[in-house]
Subunit: 331 residues, 2 copies
């Protein structure tokens, strides 16, 4: 029987969020704050990122996936920094009248991923909002003291690698908005579903975090497109990178779409939501890193190298490509 | 000259938020994540809370105060847990067309408080939103290992104390919505301004955090009203509390308003946004705690005691008061 002095917020938390708070430091979500003790000799790595309905997802996207996506965006950053997930805080703003079924599905997806990635809920804040549904997550990970992999430490002569395939989510969101593109891009059902799924559900590369920690010179999460994000890494490291577009890994679906409409290569390289890792490493570390990636089951592809200069240069048949909008921005 | 590959978000961050990122672990806000190393022997205390325009503040409230309020709400929780602030993450959602002057003033207030309370910006996330301005903060503090002051550890026989005065912000927000109440409540200008200011700007009791850490049996931040929040503390501790309403500390302004309209005592006791601390302590610790509070310049008032049973009972002239809506909820 619900305690009559309990608020609607308390009931929502008790029913849907408390089961996710498996970390002892969450104190069952009954205190003002949570407790976290980083493993001895470790630094805490902190990241906050979130999603807003109508900006980062469509209102009719499955709620179960929205919880996953919000957490995975942050997990992807932890992976790129070489950090092991420890837990997260959740700030949830819901319009009045949000259906309980939505909340239940959201919490179900979020809880499943929290368990899958070993990143339990530590605490949160729930509010009503006159605006759209908004999910903000602050995630915490651990790295050995002083060892977080930075953006700013790429060295001239490093090789540039990326995980997974590039551009699927950016193509997927176009397809999500206009299903007729599937025919224009000559995609079969499997290909179309692949692109849409990569938009709905990032695949953060946490399995690779330890290999990144031990081998990468510099790394970052690709969330605003490879072109813009590699540009940021180059700026932070005061180096240039030369990338061979022909080597950028594409899924069969992305390859088919770009074959049908070559201008889509720009979408693939500059669109957001990849949640892959771009990293640089010394050439002598390449084979060990590849072996570690194989062992982790993560595809890694060498796409270019770091050199003296400024900015990332993307070469296509010997010419440097320029982009109308190099970096995706939700802002 | 702005770098043409910089996004609007990057420029906003560089101009207004980077100056707040004085913590070395913020890495100048140029990496994916931030770094935090809790002091040796300490646990990290984590809290997330935020404000949404139209829910927690009025759009025409001064922007400078909104940054302060969002941070202070979280600082208040750290204080109640006996924790020393270490830093915070900021998730900011702004409608398109938010004026740069608003952002500048917001950042100015936030930065000033970050410095005042020794709680620098560690990192953040900035998005556009089709909804109202939303500011979500995750704040971090440190306590000696295993020493965070809980809600759940009140003991039968403890005294119950509160800091500051109760109900000012709840009366202030009524006044903010209807200026004519000032005359009805027979407030002079100073009194009216006092109540409004207490709504606009919480005064978190971080100066008392160390005394709370060393003396309190249980403590929590009062953000949803004394009645509801003390009820939560009692539930978490499986005890009852008996409070003498006549002893609840009121400002001159609140006292005047309640004298003019006695039903306002319920607003004062159950309204939100006090950001004071309610705590319990063993009777033998009372005098040392009072001395520490005096030294910290924080008013503390004994209002009742902890006893066996369930829930918090508020006595008025020998009768237990009941409340239509015991706990304030933004949800």
């Amino acid at each position: 029987m619900p305690d009559s002095t309990e608020s609607a917020e308390e009931r929502l938390i008790a029913r849907y969020l408390r089961p996710l708070a498996t970390h002892p430091g969450a104190l069952g979500l009954v205190d003002d704050a949570a407790l976290l003790t980083p493993p001895p000799g470790c630094d805490l790595v902190l990241k906050t990122d979130g999603v807003i309905a109508g900006v980062h997802f469509f209102l009719d996207d499955p709620a179960e996936g929205i919880g996953r996506k919000a957490l995975r965006m942050n997990l992807s950053d932890l992976a790129a920094k070489g950090a092991k997930p420890l837990g997260f805080l959740l700030a949830l703003a819901l319009p009045a009248g949000t259906e309980e079924a939505w909340i239940a599905a959201f919490a179900c997806g979020l809880g499943d991923d929290a368990e899958r990635y070993g990143c339990p809920l530590l605490g949160g804040d729930t509010d009503h909002t006159p605006g759209p549904i908004s999910v903000s997550i602050a995630a915490f990970g651990a790295v050995p003291h002083g060892r977080m992999v930075r953006r700013s430490t790429a060295k001239i002569g490093d090789r540039v690698l990326v995980t997974g395939t590039i551009g699927d989510a950016a193509l997927g969101v176009k397809l999500r908005g206009d299903a007729s593109l599937s025919a224009r891009w000559r995609l079969d059902r499997t290909m179309a579903r692949h692109l849409e799924e990569r938009y709905l559900l990032p695949l953060p590369r946490n399995a690779l975090a330890e290999a990144v920690l031990h081998h990468a010179a510099a790394a970052m999460d690709i969330s605003d497109g490879l072109v813009g994000d590699l540009g940021k890494l180059c700026r932070a490291s005061a180096v240039a990178a030369e990338i061979d577009i022909a080597r950028v890994p594409l899924s069969d679906a992305a390859r088919a779409a770009i074959a049908a409409e070559p201008a889509l290569i720009e979408t693939a390289l500059t669109g957001g939501d990849d949640y892959e890792i771009v990293l640089t490493l010394a050439p002598e570390k390449l084979s060990t890193f590849r072996a570690a990636a194989d062992a982790a089951g993560v595809l890694v592809t060498e796409i270019g190298h770091v050199q003296a200069g400024e900015g990332a240069c993307f070469m296509h048949n010997g010419d440097a490509l320029t982009f109308a909008r190099p970096s995706y921005s939700h802002f």
